[in-house]
Amino acid sequence: MTAVNEQQLPVVTDVISGLKHKPGALLPILHEIQNRLGYIPAESVPLIAEALNQSRADIHGVISFYHQFRTTAPGRHTVEVCRAEACQSMGARQLEAYAKATLGVDYHGTTSDQNITLEEVYCLGNCACSPSVRINDEIVGRVTPEKFDQLIDELRSQPLEVH
């Protein structure tokens, strides 16, 4: 772990020094750290706190308030299944059960090969072509269990990205 953190901390300090002067800088800082590292490592909390002249408790409180911010590394891909009403009316409850069963994880879980993290989401704004899932930054509509399988197969057959 230590070696990984040694690579991560310069990224964190770089992000902080680039954004700390913005008014209300905390969310932009957290977003950018998560964009670049995939999550917000615990070690970044005291660094952010010091830069913004806030307590570590303040920073932790903000990270834990928002569903999007995570403090552990996600899988290589994030799959979000919409649970909101429009998708429910088109079978989202069955789809989420299928997604959990197929991937063998519950929400917030990552498959054992570290490939896919499953998350819930409340509305992707694609409500006229429900049910919807989001795969990384791509939103897909009218997702049946068969289409879900196809999407997952595509993710599994992608070559691994080397960072």
Binding site: L27, F65, Y66, S89, C123, L124, G125, A128
Partner: protein, 526 residues
């Protein structure tokens, strides 16, 4: 074959992309090259006819001809049947886009350009009346701009329907103190399921929002604006940032707007998956870099808003209506609508519906007209049973209420709300006790935690509904649920706890059978 360049339009809107528009654009380009045809593919916004996405349009002398929904397997036959010449024989051909009844019958004021233009083309925008409102506003004083908005009768389109002109007047009158700073904040945290009108504005016509916010800044003396955008909208994020950069370069934003010496800067800030941040005070906390905890009102954000300064917080649709109002005059806008609900509302048909999409009409159309004439019935072909209008905090309506005109006051009179104009349709397989349970569950997940009735009441609500669904002590638990709903309504600061009971109560009232039988497929153990 044909030497001239044929223009093809394929949207870059989220729903179009979700139905395969990117892949389609790539394949069309490849096939055209293969056949030696010269085409120019323009990535426009969506027309909002989502059941036809991806909707491909070809420009012809007669106008734009629409084909949809186009899948990759249709590409060969489209070329074979000369779609580049606008041949109408292909089974996917919808004829002239503007003549499609779903679109033609609408009254598009805010969405007049949606799908017509390339969203980030400043030339397209200006050719269709863009920035004419801003140019007028630059010649007016702040009070005159606010007066025009008052005349329009515009009410906040986020759901609360507060008169926009009065909010602006309050900010105009408010003293900004020593710093002199006021802010314009656009609430683009469109979290209600069944809504996508804000997203469409940002993805199809972002300059309209930029123009509306700039006019708001001129009206009240604010030189900084923020668009608080939900992170669930990555496409809108991309398009807004492209548009803002281009507008700055061209002098429509920045320190010297169109040579006037006036300043307005604009920045997009992302939310982080928190429904509560659509509540305006929670949104302001979030923008300040804090937990999205609701603030008590008063003081109003108009007086003590972002960083303690006077702030306009308006929904995307409210701000998007402003350029039309300034360009054509407030009265032109007020000529649409009924009673105290003036202008148009972009209704959004979603869920289990055959022809889902965006329908901008004057207030007063009935829900049934939208469901039947536009929607064409359910997607599954089964009978419709329940319709949730206005998002997850508004009532489920049974068929007996579908003849209600879509008007703020008419909906209030039946204990319902229009909210942000979203309409989610359910067929007869829906279990309304399960929907009531979800309303409480959603509140558990999304409550900011400030008020006890919301934070804990929602958890108790899930438990009570589970007991009812499991047939435990039904009569006593129904009574308990009723009490709990009243406590949440009366004892919560904001609409999250205060309105979560509305869908629950409507489900109990209008669909009592669903609470009187053995459970179907309980989620209780999930």
């Amino acid at each position: 074959m044909s030497a001239s360049v044929t223009k093809i339009y394929i949207p870059r809107d989220t729903t179009a992309l979700a139905m395969g528009a990117d892949r389609l654009a790539r394949e069309i380009a490849a096939e055209a090259a293969h056949r030696g045809e010269t085409v120019e593919i323009i990535r426009n916004g969506s027309r909002g006819l989502f059941w036809l996405e991806p909707l491909l349009e070809v420009e012809t002398r007669a106008g734009r001809i629409a084909y949809g929904p186009v899948e990759n397997k249709d590409i060969d036959s489209l070329f074979d049947q000369s779609f580049l010449l606008g041949e109408t024989s292909h089974p996917l051909c919808q004829g002239l886009t503007e003549e499609i009844p779903y679109l033609k019958k609408q009254q598009r004021l805010t969405f007049a350009r949606a799908g017509v233009t390339d969203p980030v083309s400043l030339e397209d925008y200006q050719q269709l009346d863009g920035f004419s409102g801003l140019k007028k506003a630059l010649l007016m004083d702040g009070q005159a701009i606010v007066d025009e908005v008052k005349i329009s009768g515009l009410r906040g389109r986020g759901g609360a329907a507060f008169p926009t002109g009065i909010k602006w007047q309050t900010v105009l009158n408010a003293s900004p103190g020593a710093t002199g700073q006021k802010y314009i904040v656009c609430n683009a945290d469109e979290g209600d399921s069944g809504t996508f009108a804000d997203r469409m504005v940002m993805e199809a016509d972002p300059y309209m929002l930029i123009e509306g916010m700039t006019i708001a800044g001129l009206a009240v003396g604010a030189d900084q604006g923020y668009i608080y955008l939900r992170s669930e909208y990555p496409v809108a994020h991309q398009i807004l940032n492209e548009a803002i950069a281009k507008a700055e370069t061209a002098g429509f934003l920045g320190t010297n707007i169109l040579g006037s010496g006036k300043t307005f800067n604009l920045e997009v800030r992302l939310g982080a998956k928190a429904y509560i941040c659509g509540e305006e005070t929670s949104l302001l906390e979030s923008l300040e870099g804090k937990r999205g905890m609701v603030r008590a009102k008063p003081p109003l954000p108009a007086i003590v808003g972002l960083f303690g300064q006077p702030t306009i917080v308006n929904n995307v649709l409210s701000l998007a209506a402003i350029p039309y109002i300034l360009s054509k005059g407030g009265q032109a806008y007020a000529d649409y609508g009924m009673g105290r609900s003036l202008g148009t509302l972009p209704f959004q048909l979603a869920g289990n519906i055959k022809q889902g999409g965006l329908i901008e009409l004057a207030f007063g159309v009935t829900l049934r007209e939208l469901l039947e004439e536009y929607g064409g019935g359910t997607f599954t072909g089964r009978p419709m049973r329940a319709v949730q209008v206005g998002g997850p905090l508004c009532a489920y309506l049974p068929e007996s209420q579908w003849d209600t005109p879509m008007d703020y006051e008419a909906f209030q009179a039946i204990g319902a709300g229009l909210g942000h104009g979203g309409i989610v349709v359910f067929d007869d397989t829906v279990d309304m006790s399960e929907q009531a349970r979800f309303s409480m569950e959603f509140c558990v997940a999304e409550s900011c935690g400030k008020c006890t009735p919301c934070r804990i009441g929602s958890t108790r609500g899930v438990e009570v509904i589970d007991r009812i669904r499991n047939n435990e002590n039904r009569t006593a638990n129904m009574e308990l649920l009723s009490d709990l709903c009243e406590t949440m309504i009366d004892g919560s600061l904001c609409a999250m706890g205060g309105m979560t009971p509305f869908p629950v109560q409507s489900a109990v009232k209008y669909f009592p059978d669903d609470f009187n039988q053995q459970p179907k497929n309980s989620e209780g153990g999930a």
